[in-house]
């Protein structure tokens, strides 16, 4: 079997459908739960012991303590899609969220501009809001 055939066969056989869950370490669960629920506005699915589970468009976010010292590190940067990056930025600012830098144009893709704004969650993790803005409807500059 050549490498290409092997690759195609492998992908089919493993059959990863998507990402079901992402873990985020929280040092203060009530604080983190309040942030993800009340500031980010994500639906709280349930809590189980010292863990809280949120839904974000079909992907579950699991907030909880590190189960081993090795795992006690910041989260991967998650890029949350929003329809209007400037309005969402203002929403976070009004709630006292630490913003890394004002919304900026990250990349000009063929048919749209990719805007992002970085912020910190209650646990100090860097996260991003992202918005794909079609060329025909540019956002007004909020700067």
């Amino acid at each position: 079997m050549n490498a290409t055939a092997s690759r195609a066969g492998m992908a089919h056989a493993i059959g990863i459908d998507g990402i079901g869950q992402i873990s985020i370490i929280a040092h203060d669960l009530p604080r983190a739960t309040a942030f993800y629920r009340d500031v980010l506005g994500l639906p709280l699915l349930f809590t189980a012991g010292n863990m809280a589970f949120f839904d974000c468009g079909g992907v579950r976010l699991m907030l909880g303590p590190a189960s081993a010292p090795e795992l006690d590190h910041p989260s991967s940067i998650l890029y949350f899609r929003v329809p209007d990056v400037h309005a969402a930025h203002e929403h976070l600012v009004n709630r006292g969220v630490k913003i890394e830098a004002p919304p900026r144009l990250i990349a000009r893709i063929e048919t749209y501009d990719l805007w992002m704004v970085g912020f910190r969650d209650s646990e100090g993790n860097i996260m991003q809001l992202m918005s794909e803005v079609p060329r025909s409807s540019q956002p007004s500059s909020a700067a």
Binding site: S6, M10, G15, I19, Q21, L78, V82, A87, Q128
Partner: protein, 130 residues
């Protein structure tokens, strides 16, 4: 669009994963995990995973140089997926096991490492006859 709609975090568009060797990591995510490689832009390598983009990236600053969050990849048959991944060279930490009994299904998981040492997991929701 009202204020709530315009600020809603609808879904996750992208996840950054640290890779110290982007070529090595690209080979792992493409050839071992079997994810669809979208494109490469310098030290960035992008994959699609069920509509979520994974961005492999060399950490720019010491502050960013830490392992990835655990990403839990959904599969239909966790035992078969584990065997395939193991045969392809992924290092597993445990055997597939039931991690939670949820209403209507059992949640199975098994943990492994990517080429960069990040801890990842396979997960599978197996319906439980009522």
């Amino acid at each position: 669009m009202n204020s709530q709609e315009s600020t809603a975090l609808a879904r996750i568009g992208q996840i950054a994963i640290n890779a110290h060797d982007v070529d090595r990591a690209t080979a792992f995510y493409r050839d071992v995990l079997g994810l669809r490689h979208l494109f490469r832009a310098g030290q960035l390598s992008f994959f699609d995973c069920g509509g979520v983009r994974l961005m492999l990236d060399k950490p720019e600053k010491p502050e960013f140089d830490h392992p990835s969050s655990i990403l839990y990849f959904q599969v239909g048959d966790i035992r078969a997926a584990r065997e395939r991944l193991k045969a392809a060279g992924a290092k597993f930490e445990d055997e597939p096991h039931v991690i939670a009994e949820m209403p209507g299904y059992n949640l199975w998981m098994t943990f492994f490492r990517d080429s960069e040492g990040n801890l990842l997991a396979l997960m599978s929701e197996v319906a439980r006859p009522s």
